[in-house]
Amino acid sequence: MSRESLADIAQSAAAVARKKGAREVAAGAHRVRSVDVQWRDGKLEKVSEATTRGLGLELYVDDRYSSVSTSDLRPDALERFIEDSVALTRKLAPDPHRALPAPELYLGRAEVDLDLEDPHYGDLDAARRRETAEALEVAAREVEGATAILSVTTGFGDVMAESCLVHSNGFVGARRLTDFGMVAQVSVKDPDGRRPEDWDAASARHVDALPSPSEVGRAAAERALSRLGAKKGGSGLFAMAVENRSAGRLLSFLMAPLSGAALQQKRSFLDGKLGERVASAQLDVADDPLVPRGLGSRLFDSEGIAARRFKVFEEGVLRNYYVDNYYGRKLGLHPTTRGISNLHWKPGTDGLAALLAAMGEGIFVTGFLGGNSNATTGDFSLGAQGFRVRAGKIAEGLGEMNVSGNHLGLWSRLATVGNDPYPYSISRTPTLVFEGVQFAGT
């Protein structure tokens, strides 16, 4: 079974579904090989390796809809599973908005090589993975002040994923991609009894695009050591700089209410705001699925819709929602795509140091802890840690604090955007500086 091609698995499952009574069907088969090596304090902690596979089907039966998946691909079991699934679908209420995407949405697929598969994937062996994990720890323990380190856990992992998606109205799409990542976590001993921790990580589609393990290991240790002595600061309104790697969490609360599902279900504080200014002119973000080697790059989305670049926010004005096929039909809107691919920010001119210098007084947030945001109203409240900024420089460490507000107010006070997009996430957030943010502490 595992040697059968994914296209064959998907095609034959789709044929069975049609035979059992599905009017239309989307079938996706995947195979993923993943290897993870974890290293801790001088020796291997854990090694995990597996090749997994599965099949997913979206069934359209008499104007009724279901979505099913299985990892049991034994032919008899699979046929019975599809038959049962079609029978179940018939019991549901009809939904006139359910149909596969119109075939014209499949057209216009970009003819570019996204370079998502590393041709050297096969060269990676157990020794190289282990050496990388070890090198991460060695680097962490070489920083100044390393005697305070209690423990270092590092990891190296890689994935080779293949998938094939077929729709009964003509779409066929296959992809192969690789992913490599490394991480280092460092815990340090604070004289006050706490054991602060921090991490650094990197990931890339090609192994040779990763930074050196020594860079990542060192950064993790320096970050953890910088947490020593952090304390709760006073409550008040402060200017807030959010480090590029943490800004993605803040941004996610602005992006989630842009989905067709949130709009159609009236759970979006951005409902009805298309074409309106919802943030300061500094917010200028496009969705770009066609970045070579991008972590979110794709030629078509999970519904087969051809991927194209579009503006989400243009100088603070909301330009597009994320509308998939189903909610597009429900809302009477043309679908864009189901979810974020890669975000491209119109960059600012300065890096972190210059941004903090310009900010002068305020708080530099390097991590959020828990909290949530109400997608219907835009109210948010998030735990935060970081540093006080005094006279444009990083000063004492802060912990156990909270940031709150409403997103419409917050993003209208976005003062500056950095030139430093975080390369290891699809949202590629730069450092963001906001004015007048409510912090809670002592």
Binding site: S67, L88, P94, E197, G370, G383, G399, E400
Partner: protein, 511 residues
């Protein structure tokens, strides 16, 4: 990452309010035991899994000299029905069938898994996991034996596979109709109904073999209402290891009532205050305090690695003498209940804090060997794709000497937290948060204005020291809580009597 993130299903409001009758039981259900699974494997025989195949897999796993090995077979069928815009018009089904093989050498773990249950694939998987060790083969058991009889903490009258869709559909439609009939402000309702039939088989190199059938069900209701151009969204959900009988009329009535009440209260609610103040936690889902402030920090993997703020604190007083905290697998039908853990170890009740003194970490087999103690039955995993880790089950505080009214009356200015959506903790620094969906301001000893959408942040050991009043009204929450750690999600329960924490930081916006 060492932050642990936990949330209610789909990230929406969960939990029980003080008026809600308690549904979790604190005593173990009956003395009923189900007989051992035949003369060995019962359920998994249908997949061609025999003792001989298991035995060969274990011997492949030990072919390079690990200390011990185990195999974890799993079959899980999950059915979801969804109601949106007035009809049950979508279904989602997932079948998971696979096996994970683990080899342990000291603190080191080798792991492999496969969806192919053929003897060749299983042996190959065993050899993959074996590579963590590098020595001569260790002998594996020739005969496997069924372990001790398991308790029956979630017996089913009728298995989920035998419940027809026609029986479930009216339940979703009924809740939808009830919500729209109850209040003209209701504009959108979604209902999600889930049932799960899970089976696991664990066999290890000591020759133990055990099977367990693990049902689960969850009903999640979300409601969107409009009033004078304002919109608010709230909801309620219930979950348990139970069959269809879980949905008796009282519970369905309560789900609809709570979903509506927790939405419409938000129109009256304003922002919470800012800064340090007394925080009173309502009985029930406020157990999220324990989950974040101490539960994760007591998971023994973090302690054997020396990275928890609770490392080196066993036997030391950390709270007032009336504070008793347990992690319990035995609450009949609870979402966090298990008959046996995912390593085949007996799962009972573990005392984390006894009369204010830190008593026991939550152990899996690796940490138990590290500390030279008996495993506590906390070795759990999301599925066959993952090696087990020490995880919580149902975590709650036992009743204390105070009264709810007395606790509220004691606060001059503070907040009362009723319902929660999610929480998170940094294990080493000890900082933790939980997000309060709604509650009340306390002014001069009385609940006054409703508040909403506020995160509370504290430090674990300090917050426990500051628990200075504990009521006698323990409730185990009936909501569908899920705990996340190292990329693995497991179902848990939590509970609390009404509790006062003398001071925590409230992340509001004034008022």
């Amino acid at each position: 990452m060492t932050s642990r993130s936990d949330q209610g299903s789909e990230g929406t409001a969960l939990g029980g309010s003080p008026g809600v009758p308690k549904t979790g039981r604190l005593t173990e259900e009956g003395a009923g035991e189900h007989p051992p699974a035949g003369q060995g494997i019962d359920y998994f025989r249908r997949f061609g899994v025999t003792e001989a195949v298991v035995s060969r897999t274990l011997s492949a796993a030990l072919s390079r000299g690990g200390d011990y090995a185990d195999v974890f077979f799993q079959h899980r069928l999950v059915n979801d029905l969804g109601l949106e815009d007035g009809s049950v018009n979508r279904a989602f089904t997932t079948v998971e069938l696979g096996v994970g093989v683990r080899v342990v050498k000291g603190d080191q773990t080798g792991y492999g898994f496969t969806e192919d249950l053929s003897p060749e694939a299983l042996e190959a998987c065993g050899r993959t996991a074996a590579a963590i060790a590098d020595g001569p083969a260790r002998s594996s058991p020739v005969r496997l034996h069924v372990g001790a009889r398991l308790p029956a903490r979630y017996p089913l009258r009728v298995p989920w596979e035998e419940i027809r869709p026609e029986q479930k559909l009216p339940l979703l439609d009924g809740i939808n109709a009830r919500l729209f009939a109850a209040d003209r402000r209701v504009k959108k309702v979604t209902v999600r109904f889930r049932d799960e039939s899970g089976a696991i088989l664990i066999a290890d190199s000591q020759g133990r073999i055990v099977e367990d059938l693990q049902p689960m069900t969850l009903l999640h209701v979300s409601c969107l209402a409009e009033e004078e151009g304002r919109r608010e969204q709230g909801g309620y959900n219930v979950a348990g290891r139970a069959g269809f009988e879980f949905y008796h009329p009282d519970r369905l009535e309560r789900v609809a009532r709570e979903a509506l009440a927790r939405t419409t209260i938000l129109f009256e609610a304003g922002p919470a205050p800012v800064g340090e103040m007394p925080v009173v936690l309502a009985a029930g889902s406020s157990g999220i305090l324990l989950h974040e402030a101490i539960g994760h920090g007591m998971e023994a993997d973090f302690n054997r690695k020396n990275i928890s703020i609770y490392a080196d604190k066993i036997g030391k007083p950390i709270a007032r003498s009336f504070v008793n905290i347990v992690d319990d697998a035995t609450n009949g039908g609870a979402r966090g209940a298990i008959n046996v853990d995912d390593e085949g170890n007996e799962a009972g009740r573990t005392q984390l804090v006894e009369n204010g003194v830190l008593a026991t970490y939550l152990h899996d087999s690796i940490s138990a060997r590290h500390y030279g103690v008996k495993p506590t039955g906390n070795g759990r995993r999301q599925g066959y794709q993952f090696a087990p880790l020490p995880r919580m089950r149902s975590t709650y505080m036992l009743p204390g000497p105070h009264k709810r009214e007395e606790i509220i009356a004691s606060v001059r200015r503070g907040i009362y937290c009723e319902n929660f959506t999610n929480g998170q903790v940094n294990i080493g620094a000890g900082d933790f948060t939980f997000y309060v969906k709604n509650g009340y301001l306390i002014e001069d000893g009385k609940l006054t204005r409703p508040i909403k959408d506020v995160n509370i942040i504290g430090n674990g050991p300090r917050a426990l020291e500051e628990v200075d009043m504990v009521s006698d009204d323990l409730q185990i929450d009936e909501g569908g809580w899920t705990c996340g750690k190292d990329g693995q999600s497991v179902p848990v329960s939590q509970g609390l009597p009404t509790v006062r924490v003398r001071s925590m930081t409230v992340g509001g916006r004034g008022g």
